[in-house]
Subunit: 219 residues, 2 copies
DNA sequence: ATTTATTTTTAGATTTGTCTAAATTTATTT
DNA sequence: AAATAAATTTAGACAAATCTAAAAATAAAT
């Protein structure tokens, strides 16, 4: 089945929200999509008709199995293109998201399969987010946010959840990126801030607010 | 200035037609665009307003200088993507056009500049069509792949699109490189293979698969 | 349990790009 | 030059995707 760009964006938006909340409501999606509630309602009717989501008036909605499959295929495209843009074209990781938002709507399945092979079938994009395979399966590793990481335990930065420009700029300054080895050397109980050693490099202090948006894995 | 996909496609269509005819007429463009004359008229009004084309009712139309610049930037994108799809992703050249029709509308200028560099600033796409540079300047010689070269016609090897190690090794063995004078002496219809004379040197047999990756020019 | 507030949906308008059918302009033929 | 044909444009309609403003349903508060 074929979808418009707007439909695809809505499907992706629902997927994103239902990851956290289970059932999604109209206002939340309107906010996520930077549009109005009335427009969302219109789109919901269309997507229900196409059996992309289960939707009862006034009662919230969520994707059907088919809807989920479509969402994952769009996310797969998005993340493969992000990988291409940073690793092959040398883009700064802060810039790739907007371009991938366009590229993810290119329709050819064969293109994505060949791109995947060309990139060496990566499992994670440059932000550390997992890239679903062609069946929609998502690779998993146990991730912990920095606040949960035991003190002195060596770990690898795997992703960053708050991708605001300010956040990315700060991490760039500290030379913290995906794959950076890291270790907590002190935990200040007063304000929850952490002293963090970027291995083979300097040490810095991160606030709790920042730390809980940085994810790592170990072993 | 920003354009919709439909506007961009019409600009490209006008450019293509005016290459041959100078002034373009409504029906011709309608045919080119697989649409109706009335729809073309609507679009012409819009593009005239945006100063993309000179247009007098009932009297035909052609692109302004600005219109030409835009057309060339779209053609540039199209051909760079075609190059990417064949040379980097290994697509069959027959399949790349449709995909490039979508990719050419991705808007980022930085993307195209980086893609161009990544591909090594190629001058011709895999069909031998010239790729305009970022100023809209078009390289002049036309390239043909060996399958398209008329028999007995003397030509010069100008580029090789499939740069796999095996390919390069084979070419090295036959002493075929950029600038090598070459001539087709026989075309075996059975399997599409060619008997090729490397001038001032030996003769060899090249499979169709190899031949279509070797580009030449003549005169 | 009413009233008030919030959320969601409907109703109707707008924009973009397309269409058909009719009218108009230009070109061709007799 | 008048009649006919072809090309082009206008007028009006339609679908998609959005919006505003008002109505309806649900949730929260007194």
């Amino acid at each position: 089945m074929k979808f418009t760009i707007s439909e695809e964006n809505h499907i992706k938006g629902v997927y994103h929200l239902q990851q956290q909340t289970g059932l999604v409501n109209t206002n939340a999606l309107a906010c996520e999509m930077q549009t109005k509630a009335a427009s969302v309602t219109d789109m919901l009717k269309k997507l229900k008709l196409k059996k992309i989501l289960q939707y009862e008036k006034y009662k919230g909605f969520k994707l059907t199995e088919m809807g989920k499959k479509i969402a994952l295929s769009i996310i797969r495209k998005h993340r493969l293109w992000e990988y291409f843009l940073t690793v092959k074209l040398g883009f700064d990781w802060a810039k790739v998201h907007a371009i991938a938002e366009e590229l993810e709507h290119i329709s050819s399945e064969e293109l994505i399969q060949k791109l995947d092979d060309f990139l060496g079938n990566p499992s994670f994009d440059p932000h550390g987010d997992p890239i679903p395979d062609s069946f929609g399966k998502i690779p998993t590793i146990k991730q912990y946010n920095l606040m949960q990481l035991p003190i002195k335990k060596k770990a690898i930065v795997s992703s960053v959840s708050n991708q605001s420009a300010q956040m990315l700029e700060m991490l760039k300054h500290y030379k913290i990126g995906i794959g950076t080895p890291i270790q907590i050397t002190k935990h200040f109980l007063f304000d929850g801030s952490l002293e963090v050693k970027i291995l083979k490099n300097t040490t810095c202090i991160l606030s709790e607010q920042v730390a809980k948006n940085i994810f790592v894995y170990y072993e």
